[in-house]
Symmetry: C2
Subunit: 696 residues, 2 copies
């Protein structure tokens, strides 16, 4: 055994501990800050309580699913279809994914009041607290991700003495399925909660009763703020944990298939480890002057991510030239991934930020009412899919060929896998800038509900608006990396099938592949329909409840009586937990059913179809939604008639339509794509044996 094989996993393990230590330090640093007035404490407490209560019930529901799946996997492994590690790997993936969300949400619910309080003293104070809490989330996700990976790797290699690298990676792929399942539940459940509360609160509060957003008289306003935490924070944490881990292990699996041995498998892990250190250093570059404007704020966040990217690139170069000297060109694969992530992020911002033409033009279409702003918003989202597709295409070409794809197909694909790892290597800091958004949003809500001076609200608004931009960038990363990771997973699936002794005919003209492509292309649409309708149904219930409270609670509108916030939170919790089951079932059952009917070739077709149509649909939904949101904000800032004008009303309709687009369906589609692949891999042996109806 060479020295590297021993020390590299330990190095990765240590880096994961550094990330967790840094995030623990930040966690307590944030918690030490003063929380503000008693009203702020009370409101903050209510939000925290509601969010935690939701998560507990979510984990209980998801726990049942995990228990059932665990038993199924156990049975399958006893029957010889799976290795004995699979059921346990599945559990850890799910556990850590959930834990990432939990910790991120914990800190976010501490940081929201503290950010509002900090903003009383100045913009920079607020930014620092909100960003610190974001970095807790970012570094928890990457820390737990690498911890899980390195511990499993060492366990399989040093304890269970698996010496074949392919066997190790095959076992590790299955904790990806656990992570994906958890992520899907968290994203869908949280996404439904947050948007049901948001839409419901707006429809009755803003539109019908004419009271402002975050007004304490609105019974759904606490639920709305709880939603930001369970959806935008906990959901996102679980989601990106899954993306991060998925990219690293799928790349490792490709290295194994390409015959690059342990070195090939360890490189993606080590690149991720370097990225952790780079991210930590990057966080120190984030701060701003007191009189900073929006642009300076964004500049300060950018400084952090750019510094991390550069450090990460240099570190990866050194690493690759040392460990893969004969194959050092794969360095360009990593760079192409990093660059693709940055570029997709930039174009997401271009399409969704009101600093650029598209969203400005979208605001202008409010002149002719809500129908035209909807049409133009959808068109904007559709149009915005072109550039990311081209970026991903170029990135695949560059990474494939620099990694030697012209001579060896598998080596080329390893390059594609590495570009996904490169894209996500600086996740520690990109996620920090992303996760800071909902905290700022919450801080604004708390400032409003606690009756803090107007200037505080203005500061939190500035922070929040910036958060929309960084959230858009974060979504770009999530979508881009999902595409590359899913690609790697599809190839891993074909390797798995081949290792089971089954031949493949993946020609696009093979009817099984073709029908699979059709079904796959349809799945993201069906899935989005399910999640959007779920939001609609849950929002409907909130509307009924809020109307009831306005009607029945005497003195509520005059501010003399308190609203019953708990009932709204309870409705959201119950609905979202109920509604998340069906979409998740679709993700898990579709690959099995398609496999049984169309066989393994059909599964590959389905995966490819879901990947390409899901990628395009997810970008469209994210960008339409983001642009509507900012078009509304742009009008609220005094353009086209400003708040209360007919234009504003039209923009509110756009924003409401965009809510489930960008915060429920869109981001869940990313996870769906990967979950489909993961499930296919885990159930490959069953499909190989029983699939295809004797026809395919």
């Amino acid at each position: 055994m060479n020295v590297l094989e021993t020390y590299a996993p330990i190095t990765v393990f240590i880096c994961s501990l550094i990330a967790l230590a840094f995030s623990t330090y930040q966690f307590f640093a944030v918690k030490k800050k003063p929380e503000g007035t008693d009203t702020m404490k009370t409101i903050g407490g209510k939000i925290r309580k509601g969010a935690m209560a939701y998560l507990k019930r979510q984990y209980k529901t998801v726990g049942v699913f995990f228990a059932v799946m665990f038993i199924i996997l156990l049975v399958l492994s006893f029957a010889g279809f799976l290795t004995p590690y699979v059921p346990f790997a599945f559990l850890t993936g799910g556990f850590f994914s959930g834990l990432s969300g939990f910790i991120g949400m914990k800190i976010a619910t501490y940081a929201n009041t503290r950010t509002a309080n900090g903003a009383q003293q100045g913009l920079n104070k607020g930014l620092k607290i909100a960003f610190a809490s974001g970095s807790v989330m970012g570094l928890t996700v990457v820390g737990l991700g690498l911890l899980d990976i390195s511990v499993w790797f060492m366990l399989l290699k040093f304890v269970f003495k698996l010496n074949n690298v392919e066997d190790i990676m095959s076992a590790m792929l299955t904790f990806g399925m656990g992570a994906s399942s958890m992520a899907l539940f968290a994203r869908v459940g949280g996404g439904i909660f947050t948007k049901a509360a948001d839409v419901g609160a707006d429809l009755v509060g803003k539109v019908e009763a004419g009271i402002p957003e975050d007004d304490p008289r609105n019974p759904a306003c606490i639920a709305d703020n709880v939603g930001d935490n369970v959806g935008d924070v906990a959901g996102m944490g679980a989601d990106l944990y899954e993306s991060y881990v998925g990219s690293i292990i799928s790349c490792g699996a490709l290295a194994a298939a390409a015959g690059l041995g342990f070195n090939g498998v360890l490189v993606p892990m080590l690149i991720a480890a370097i990225g952790i250190l780079a991210s930590i250093i990057g966080t120190f570059f984030v701060s701003t002057k007191e009189n900073a404007d929006q642009k300076a704020l964004l500049g300060s966040l950018r400084r952090g991510t750019y510094a991390s990217s550069i450090i990460s690139a240099i570190g990866s170069a050194v690493l690759i030239f040392t460990l893969l000297p004969e194959n050092s060109n794969v360095f360009w694969a990593v760079i192409s991934g990093l660059l693709a992530g940055v570029l997709i992020g930039f174009f997401t911002e271009y399409y969704t930020s009101d600093s650029y033409k598209p969203t400005k033009k979208l605001s202008a279409s409010s002149e002719t009412g809500s129908a035209t702003i909807i049409i133009d918003g959808i068109a904007l989202g559709m149009k915005s899919t072109a550039i990311p597709v081209i970026i991903i295409g170029i990135s695949v070409i560059v990474s494939y060929f620099t990694a030697g794809g012209a001579n060896s197909f598998t080596s080329g694909l390893y390059g594609v896998g590495l570009s996904a790892v490169g894209m996500l290597s600086t996740l520690g800091i990109t996620l920090a800038t992303d996760a800071y958004g909902p905290v700022a949003d919450n801080a604004g809500g708390i400032a409003e509900m606690s009756g803090l001076p107007e200037v505080v609200r203005e500061r939190t608004d500035a922070l929040d608006s910036l958060g929309n931009t960084t959230a858009a960038t974060g979504k770009g990363f999530a979508i881009g990396s999902a595409a590359l990771t899913a690609l790697a997973l599809i190839v891993s699936y074909t390797d798995k099938v081949k290792s089971l002794g089954k031949g493949l005919d993946l020609a696009i003209t093979n009817p099984a592949v073709l029908i699979g492509l059709f079904v796959g292309a349809m799945l993201p649409f069906l899935f989005s329909a399910m999640t959007m309708q779920a939001v609609g149904r849950a929002a409907q219930k909130i509307v009924v409840e809020v109307r009831r409270q306005f009607r029945e609670i005497k003195g509520l509108m005059e501010g003399k009586a308190d609203a019953d916030y708990e009932t709204c939170i309870d409705i959201c919790t119950k609905s979202s937990l109920k509604e998340m089951i069906l979409p998740a079932a679709l993700g898990i059952l579709a690959p099995i059913i398609v496999g049984l009917v169309l066989g393994v070739n059909g599964v590959v077709g389905m995966l490819a179809g879901a990947l390409v149509s899901g990628f395009v649909l997810a970008i469209m939904m994210a960008n339409s939604g983001g642009s509507w949101d900012n078009a509304k904000k742009y009008i609220e800032a005094g353009n086209y008639g400003g708040k209360g004008s007919e234009n504003h009303k039209a923009a509110v309709v756009g924003d409401t339509v965009g809510d489930p687009f960008k915060d429920t369906s869109g981001p869940s589609v990313n996870i769906l794509i990967k979950l489909l692949s993961m499930v296919s891999i885990v159930f490959a042996a069953i499909v190989v044996q029983f699939g295809g109806l004797g026809l395919f």
Copy 2:
């Protein structure tokens, strides 16, 4: 040479003449009917004049394109990349496609006043006239289609003495490209015209000024009626000509590739010929009692299509058992196509008609305003994609395996081609029921503008509402057949490439194929964005103009002065001609650019990606749009507050968003999918020689 090879083409030719004779007879029968009052004549004349003026200018613009393409193709054929027939075949395809639209529109603009006048005497009278004019369109399309096919076939075989069936089909495929190009221009141009006028007229007339639809005071109302003719009639005619011809020639090409010789090639033509006779017989089943309700009306139309289907199925059985005795199982392929068409049509109706739950529920979501009706409508459209995908999947499986796919790949695909021909064999009558809709719609407008009694408007409304349902069914057919035809064309492309001596690696894991899939999946989105934004821009101009007239023409609102209708028509004409260029360019340039960059494998990936994502997107847009339209009508019928209520306003927003969905972007995507394939086939030789950057 066997007897069949001589007589079969002549039989097909004669059947095409029968269709044209029947449609000519119907044409003059309709024209003989009385036109009604002088006002009706004047209004009808204005609509006809505007529509004809538009078509003339459209043909002029398109003529330039055809001239340029003709020269390019001529140069390429001199350079040896194409056979000398190609440039001329291209022209005839375009010419007949355009002619189909022209004749259909001619009769529609005669029939609209006559239908309104007939409706004065009763429902049945109105139905008869409108349906007769629809059958002119239907039989013109199929007649011209088979005429073009049979004449070219005889020309190539008997005059130019081509004896290799593959060479004949290869030359014939190229007039498909002409037809597709023309269809795209007609659908996109007409689609932009009609929706710009419709949206523009509604936004200012209905929403701002509060005057009813089709009110003569609205300066855009004539343009709106013109739009129905140039978009829904002429556009649809060109579109379905292309579908019809495309399915028959692509099936023929597959027969040639499968080594089934002339018999195999002649079978699809003969099935189509049988379908013509069946359609003519079917038209005699359409009539209704005077006191018929909506259900009876629909029943009467259904009787016609079902009778035709049954006759067509029996005829095809006899034909196949005689001509392909060793391969008679392909009969089931034809049946599966026929059945798939009927089923997709039924489910389209299920999702869009207000007789069923989905649209009723959509109407209910107007209770919480325009945002929720938009969200739910999009979700409805997305959900409705699942069943058609499954139907197409089953139909592919059945037709592939019954045609012997288990033993021979090419024979199986011939079965898939035959199922597309089966689906479209009764187009003569299904198109008649479809084309009757816009005539009824126009008749209603004329009744309103001419101040005919309320009861007449009620009758035309009943006819129109039925037209929405049959239009939805027609769209189902168009989409379903597009999927199967595009599939056949993709295979024809691979055959073409192989015949040029180039090997293919179509595995989905080949990076060129994968990137092609991504690009292909994105194209329908980009295309839809372009066409939707085009509608928005053109509608904007109409809004400005209508507002100007309301402001500047004294006495217009009091009915004392006439509106300036011509300017609105002129604006629509100019905008739509300008705006149709870019989307059409996308369809023609994308395959060439992708081919040059990614090579032939990339092209196949692109075609497959565009097919599956375009299929799903087209269904979603058509069904969302159809359902919004009918939800609005359902509310107008007195449900959920009826006309003028807040619910109605929300439903109007939904309907306005749905307009470009269902009448511009959605139906054009079908054509885009096939145009991409056609262009790929024609430019295959160039791509084989120069494509792939030396990498792929």
